[in-house]
């Protein structure tokens, strides 16, 4: 390091350039910090597990035409029988919704029959005893449904079940002491308890919006086979046979009953597609922010190179004088590096404040999370390094100015 005084004196000679570089560094820091933070938040969501074993799994959305809501029961039964005996299919269920699908049922739940307010919020899945093997859920306590416990019901009037299976997250919220098994749970505003007979390790809700993140893993499986005209089939293929089943299953359904609609767009999807479509927005946002960050850093670096080169060009004569008076190449290099570091430090200090301010504003406007200071620190270091890297080439050029320059007029 060298004496800072003369550098400050020189900086006063070109205030405008100094302020511009500092401003650029400050603004870049503010935006890059927030953008990186948004990226990490989004990617965290994209990699959230659903609790399902997603490989070899697929979904079909079907709707019977011209059938009363309450009368589709036998048709669904026939569909399931046809699907389950299809070669390549390991198991299948008809269910009202599934994780990442987007639409579904949710309700408040209580553990105390007289409580006026719900103790927690959960999604409701309605399907038979094949749910656990089809979804690939891991039972951590208790047992699965027995086939004699499954009831048929019209979606307009689902009776309160006697037994339910819950996700561990919901069990722990209802009974924080960890003993939820065999305990009662009251669904909605019913007075009739359902007994928790099984707890699965993890099962996500159908939604992935910010409002549902509060209860993302609270799920309830009810032993009810719905008889509505619209239903979703979840099908687990035998290992490696998913591609065949994706074609064979819808064909089989059409063969079983033509009077149905399977939408061409979202009707038949592998679970990989379901996941991709559900997180499209998050992934895209992360990509967009990533591109913005990279271009931004490149432009800032380019700006520093451009301005510093200009300064070096302007001061060739002075540099020559200093070299003639005995300054080494290293001294000159050091001078420019230090000068740039001073500007950079001023920039990052302002930038850090801006970054935090910007994040606070985003928090109030868009319900975003609070920026962790690690990001600000990482951004500060990254930008200082970027600045020093950018100034290196012009500074090297400055150090190569020969002492003879002092005697020349430009």
């Amino acid at each position: 390091m060298m004496h800072i005084k003369p550098i400050l004196a020189a900086l006063r000679r070109h205030k405008a350039g100094t302020i511009l570089i500092a401003m650029q560094i400050a603004l870049t820091l503010a935006i890059v910090c927030n953008a990186l933070f948004i990226i990490s938040q989004r990617l965290e969501r994209v990699h959230r597990p659903t609790g399902l074993v997603e490989g070899d799994l697929m979904a079909i959305q079907s709707r019977f035409v011209g059938v009363d809501e309450a009368k589709a029961g036998p048709l669904i039964k026939a569909d399931l029988a046809a699907l389950r005996q299809l070669p390549g299919v390991q198991d299948a269920i008809a269910i009202n919704s599934y994780p990442l699908r987007g639409g579904g049922w949710s309700t408040g739940v209580r553990t105390d029959v007289d409580a006026k307010d719900s103790k927690g919020h959960t999604t409701q899945y309605f399907a038979d005893e094949h749910t656990l093997p089809t979804m690939g859920l891991r039972l951590v306590e208790g047992r699965n449904f027995r086939s004699d416990e499954i009831i048929e019901a019209d979606p307009q009037g689902v009776p309160d079940p006697a037994v339910v299976i819950v996700s561990k997250a919901l069990a722990d919220q209802m009974y924080p002491d960890g003993h939820a098994l065999s305990k009662p749970i009251y669904i909605g505003d019913t007075k009739k308890p359902a007994t928790i007979i099984g707890i699965v390790e993890r099962l996500g809700v159908p939604w992935n919006a910010s409002w549902s993140d509060k209860f993302y893993e609270n799920s309830l499986i009810q032993p009810v086979q719905m008889t509505g005209a619209a239903t979703n089939y979840l099908i687990r293929a035998k290992p490696g046979q998913l591609a065949d089943v994706l074609k064979a299953a819808p064909a089989m359904l059409i063969k079983t009953n033509r009077m149905r609609v399977i939408s061409s767009e979202r009707g038949v999807r592998s679970f990989a597609q379901v996941r991709e479509e559900a997180y499209k927005g998050d992934r895209g946002m992360a990509l967009l922010m990533g591109v913005v960050c990279l271009v931004l850093l490149a432009i800032t670096a380019a700006g520093i190179v451009g301005l510093t080169s200009f300064w070096v060009g302007q001061r060739r004569k002075q540099i020559g004088v200093r070299r003639a008076l005995g300054a080494t190449k290293g001294d000159i290099l050091n001078y420019f590096l230090t000068e740039n570091l001073l500007i950079g430090v001023a920039g990052v200090v302002i930038g850090a404040l801006l970054a935090i301010g910007m994040n606070l504003w985003l928090v109030t406007q868009f319900e975003m999370a609070r920026l962790s200071l690690t990001y600000v620190l990482a951004g500060v270091i990254a930008l200082l390094l970027l600045g020093q890297g950018a100034v290196l080439a012009p500074a090297m050029r400055a150090s190569r100015v020969s002492p003879v320059e002092a005697t020349r007029s430009v």
């Binding site: 350039g17 650029q24 927030n34 033509r258 927005g281 922010m289 432009i299 800032t300 700006g303 451009g306």
Partner: protein
């Protein structure tokens, strides 16, 4: 002289190519980023029915009371109960009014080789066609008396008419919906307001155009379930009848009120109606109603996706940085030519001349940046489908107005950025420059 300066400007682009390239790149990237995100923002914040957006209103009635709902914040539910919708239709206090809901309808083609298929379908009242300015290709809307008679009539959309009747006039023919025949009374021409203001609740503002319209009364009589949301504060009980008479909200409602005074009168009527419900014991709280027009409703329902807003903000920040960068580079570029400026000033050029010359030069750089920005915006708009839902992505297009805006922003921004460097250039002392060099 202008042409000469422009020539000078374009020629000087080649003078220190690296600095110029940096600037053009910065402006191009900055403009492209902001224009791409702006195109999405523009699509989502579009006014779908500008000629009537201040005359169409959504009434809201609080039938749940103050302490129900996850984050109610004192706002009434955003849909209506069947009970309230029918009462408001019966009272007919607005110029026109309609209840509506998305029905689950499948079309069964007469051609046995075709499989049944689904189209977006709604049950609503005859008034709705006039309220929403739905254009007709053939025939017309059904009548109010057909609403009252729960008639089996339908209006179909152009796309469906093309599919089923090859675009012929199908008025008087039948269409089979959910296994029942409906007589076609009209074929609507392409009608696709975006965002879908009439049913924000169930579509989030973006959906395929409606292809099947049937009377609301008929849809309810046939117990056609809603294809949209249904929110209940309490268990409605079993069966269709208990559901439609419950406090579950699932019906959309619109009224047309051409003048401010009519809107005020209608709001008073809503409060009166709520007070009446309170007296009869159905509501155990003071009247709590809202009446929002199209613009207010879209704003309240947050139709513009958060992604669109955040990315627009980030891109504007990006553009700002690119401009700060350009100010610095232009300063370097102009000050390098101090001696040239000195000579020109010594030969009698006024400060104003210097100003004009350098601003035109900046505009030339802006023009180059704009051309690059246009290319990048084109790529960006194509890339939008990676970030946003396809429904929204297809709205973001590179049209003439966006092209012009891109160029305008690029040139204006660069000229704006050039003001300080130009001022500095104009301050150059001619004598000083001549002496020292």
């Amino acid at each position: 002289m202008f042409a000469y300066y422009l020539q000078l400007g374009l020629r000087s682009l080649r003078k220190n190519p690296l600095l110029t390239l940096l600037m053009v790149l910065a402006i191009g990237c900055g403009v492209a980023a902001s224009m791409t995100t702006y195109s999405v923002f523009r699509a989502t914040s579009n006014n779908p029915i500008p000629q009537k957006s201040s005359q169409l209103y959504v009434p809201q009635i609080d039938n749940w009371g103050p302490d129900v709902g996850p984050d109610a914040k004192g706002e009434p539910p955003n849909a209506m109960t069947y009970t309230d919708a029918v009462n408001l239709m019966r009272d007919k206090r607005a110029k026109r009014q309609t209840a509506l809901y998305p029905t689950q309808m499948s079309i069964v083609p007469t051609d046995a080789s075709m499989l049944p298929f689904r189209e977006t379908s709604y049950g609503w009242y005859a008034d709705a066609f006039g309220m929403f300015d739905v254009p007709f290709l053939y025939g017309h809307a059904w009548s109010a008396s057909e609403d009252d008679a729960h008639a089996a009539v339908a209006v179909i959309g152009k796309a469906l008419n093309d599919k089923l009747f090859n675009g012929r006039n199908s008025v008087g023919q039948n269409v089979n919906l959910n296994g029942r025949d409906y007589r076609i009374v009209g074929v609507a021409d392409r009608w696709n307001p975006e965002p879908v203001f009439y049913d924000v609740i169930n579509t989030n503002g973006f959906d395929d155009p409606i292809q099947v319209f049937i009377p609301f009364t008929r849809a309810v009589e046939l117990q056609t379930p809603t294809n949209g949301n249904n929110n209940c504060s309490h268990d409605p009980g079993k069966g269709w009848d208990s559901w439609i008479h419950s406090e579950c909200v699932w019906v959309g409602f619109w009224v047309e009120l051409p003048t401010r005074s009519e809107a005020d009168a209608y709001h008073q009527y809503l409060n009166g109606y709520s007070a009446e419900q309170q007296r009869s014991g159905r509501f155990r709280w003071a009247p709590n109603t809202r009446l929002r027009n199209v613009t207010e409703w879209l704003e309240y329902q947050k139709v513009v996706p958060q992604e669109a807003k955040v990315s627009l903000l980030v891109s504007l920040g990006f553009l700002l940085i690119c401009l700060v960068n350009t100010v610095g580079l232009l300063l370097a570029k102009f000050m390098r030519r101090s001696s040239e400026i000195g000579v020109r000033r010594a030969l009698g050029a006024t400060r104003k001349e210097i100003y004009i010359q350098f601003l035109i030069e900046a505009a030339a750089i802006g023009l180059a940046g704009g051309v690059l920005g246009l290319l990048l915006t084109g790529i960006g708009v194509m890339g939008v489908s990676l970030v946003f839902e396809p429904d929204i992505a297809k709205l973001a297009t590179l049209d003439v107005s966006l092209v012009l805006l891109t160029m305008l922003v690029a040139i204006l921004a660069t000229v704006l950025a050039a003001f300080y460097p130009t001022w500095r250039a104009a301050q150059v002392q001619p004598a000083w420059q001549l002496k020292s060099n």
